[in-house]
């Protein structure tokens, strides 16, 4: 490998991403079907979490309504497919559009609210959406859940989970790349400026309200696409998609990945989806684990696992460095020969 790297002039830094892409592309052919389902779900959650991170991490607005937009996108996509027989390239964008428009409508009254009250209002909105999904039985079939047919593209039906994986992969990678471009663009920098000091941003001529709406709309769009993907990939919807447990899962993904990090949200989604699906049939355990993880991360690793790991690695490297620099004599264990500890039972035998 090293020889290859030398010959081609490719270091690890360039080889690793290529390797990663190969792994991601070949993944569905290696995974067992239950794990393939989890991989599909991870892609969906990655999209949703990146969207939540735009509003929570980059814009610093505490919205608890993410699951509502996710469920709205999912149900719109599903209903268009069921009632009108729309192909997925119509129903998925339509679902995303619905979530986006409702996101903009929610954003306008939410502009007047900061911090806590925004959390409260979005929390209430989230529960209202769940209530509507439960009550409007003629449309959503309420608590029974809503089965969705497999997505089709012309005459091609996505019959296998592998094909669904590639569908989700294409959409998810496009959106993740777009998000990382957006957050590094003028919009992303302005959002962060507004987050860190609305007053300073305003004094520099930033239209704070407009950017707050932009972040709301963007995050609702991501949630809507994630919901639409869910309808197509999982093919079964239920009102709890807009429930508190779902919001908490999204929050947890973003917190573990790190607020304000697109890549972190993706990693968080991959890890958390695995963890949560393993515990799927044990709701009590799921709740306790979510709760404990939330508390641990908020208290001990508020910037997510990435910076925490990086700090740990840096500390380790420093320690090793110091150890190698230290003179040879001090490397010997502190208990030197000829200075035995009195309580060492091995002494008497020597």
């Amino acid at each position: 490998m090293a020889a290859l790297a030398k010959r081609t002039g490719w270091g690890w830094s360039r080889a690793l991403p290529v390797l990663g892409v190969c792994v991601v592309l070949l993944l569905p052919h290696v995974l067992a079907s239950s794990w393939l389902f989890i991989a599909n779900l991870a892609l969906i959650y990655a999209v949703a979490a990146v969207g939540l991170n735009i509003i929570l991490g980059f814009s610093g607005q505490f919205s608890l309504a993410h699951a509502a937009f996710y469920a709205l996108g999912a149900y719109t996509t599903a209903l268009l497919t069921i009632k009108l027989g729309a192909p997925f390239w119509v129903s998925l964008p339509a679902g995303a559009l619905t979530a986006t428009v409702i996101g903009a409508l929610v954003a306008i009254p939410a502009l007047r609210l900061g911090g806590l009250f925004l959390a409260m209002a979005t929390f209430a909105f989230n529960q209202t959406v769940e209530w509507i999904l439960l009550q409007w039985v003629s449309l959503t079939s309420g608590p029974d859940g809503l089965p969705v047919p497999r997505p089709r593209l012309g005459t091609f039906v996505f019959a296998s989970d592998v094909s669904l994986y590639y569908l989700a992969l294409v959409v998810a990678s496009a959106l993740v790349v777009a998000a990382s471009r957006i957050t590094r663009s003028r919009i992303g920098r302005t959002l962060m400026a507004v987050r860190d000091s609305p007053v300073a941003a305003r004094s520099l001529g930033v239209d704070v309200e407009r950017y707050r709406i932009v972040s709301f709309v963007l995050s609702a769009f991501y949630a809507g696409v994630a919901g639409g993907l869910y309808a197509n990939v999982v093919q079964f919807l239920f009102p709890a998609m807009s429930g508190l447990l779902q919001v908490t899962l999204f929050l947890l993904i973003v917190i573990i990945g790190g607020l304000g990090s697109v890549a972190g949200a993706v990693w968080g989604a991959v890890v958390l989806t695995g963890v949560s699906e393993v515990m799927r049939s044990f709701k009590a355990v799921q709740e306790v684990v979510y709760g404990v993880l939330l508390v641990l991360f908020i208290v001990f690793m508020p910037h997510g696992i990435g910076p925490a790991l990086r700090a740990a690695v840096a500390r380790l490297r420093d320690a090793i460095h110091e150890w190698r620099l230290a003179p040879l004599g001090s490397r010997v264990a502190p208990v030197a020969a000829g200075n035995p500890r009195p309580d060492d039972p091995a002494d008497g035998q020597r």
């Binding site: 929570l56 610093g60 607005q61 505490f62 009254p109 007047r112 609210l113 900061g114 911090g115 806590l116 009250f117 925004l118 959390a119 409260m120 209002a121 929390f123 209430a124 909105f125 529960q127 209202t128 209530w131 009550q135 609305p198 508190l244 908490t248 929050l251 917190i255 709701k283 009590a284 355990v285 799921q286 709740e287 306790v288 684990v289 979510y290 709760g291 404990v292 993880l293 939330l294 508390v295 908020i298 208290v299 508020p302």
Partner: protein
């Protein structure tokens, strides 16, 4: 007219519960600037520990069971405050809220692990009788709830207004540094605020227990408590919280009586959104208290 009065009186029964929870949340907020999203779970925990732990499993008589379950709820709250919220003093509100959501999930999952998810009925405390008061039908348990709720709120008022400890707590919430300089043990006041509000929540759970089935999702009453707080004018307004709770109970019942029963459960959500959009200072809110919380 009788119908209206009947709705109002039944609304006050629920309103007392909302008031107990909302006052608890306001108390914690005043003391520590933390909004406790686990308050609903303390309410649920109180009911579970009392009915299924103390009365059913341990077969204790009523009063010791009551005392032990209130103590259990208070202890849970104090531990949560010490382990989770104390390290986050001064952290952004987002972090603190997420941490208390974490606590709420730990409590909910814990109760589910011990007692399962199936809604559980149990033998009612008093016979489920109704009394007729001036043409109004009120269940006995409802009367107990109203009397106990109003009594507790009155006691709380006396505590904060006239006792030394209550004054120390008020001083702490007014100005933490000055209170510290006056020799008040500020962290003990934090613990006390959490313990007291856990007791209020647990009393609520124990009072409503005989009228409903116990289930781990009971804590969703939290949203109603939030609605009560927002109607009453903010998170630091104890009297407003109590009045807001009563009002919410009555409004909910009027909606269910005159419009539709299904709408009852969505009333608090709608009220939160409407009040925040139209009059974010609440019905009795004072602008200046509020403005400082409006900007994140």
């Amino acid at each position: 007219m009788t119908f209206l009065l009947q709705l109002v009186v039944s609304g006050l029964i629920n309103g007392c519960l909302y008031a107990l929870l909302a006052v608890g949340i306001a108390m914690i907020f005043k003391a520590t600037q933390i909004v406790n999203f686990a308050q609903g779970e303390l309410f649920m925990l109180g009911a579970y520990v009392h009915f299924l732990g103390m009365l059913t499993a341990l077969r204790l008589p009523f009063l010791p069971a009551l005392a032990l379950s209130l103590a259990a709820a208070a202890l849970t709250a104090v531990v949560a405050e010490r382990l989770v919220c104390r390290p986050l003093l001064g952290a952004p509100i987002v972090s603190v809220v997420i941490a208390t959501i974490g606590v709420s999930f730990i409590l909910k999952g814990g109760v589910r692990l011990v007692w399962g998810s199936v809604p559980l009925p149990f033998r009612p405390l008093f016979e489920t009788r109704t009394v007729i008061l001036g043409g109004l039908v009120v269940p006995t348990q409802g009367l107990v709830i109203i009397c106990a709720g109003l009594g507790l709120l009155g006691l709380l008022y006396v505590f904060f207004q006239f006792t030394k400890l209550g004054k120390m707590m008020r001083a702490t919430s007014e100005n933490r540094t000055a209170a510290l300089l006056m020799g008040i043990n500020v962290t003990r006041m934090f613990s006390l605020a959490w313990a007291l509000s856990a007791v209020l929540a647990a009393v609520g759970g124990i009072l409503i227990g005989p009228l409903v089935q116990l289930e781990p999702e009971m804590g969703i009453i939290l949203i109603s408590a939030f609605a009560a707080l927002i109607i009453g004018g903010g998170f630091g307004n104890l009297a407003g919280a109590a009045v807001g709770g009563m009002l919410l109970g009555v409004i909910e019942n009027l909606v269910s009586g005159y419009l539709s029963t299904a709408l009852q459960s969505v009333t608090p959500f709608v009220l939160i959104v409407v009040v925040l959009a139209i009059r974010p200072t609440g019905l009795f809110g004072r602008g200046e208290v509020y403005r400082s919380h409006l900007v994140s």
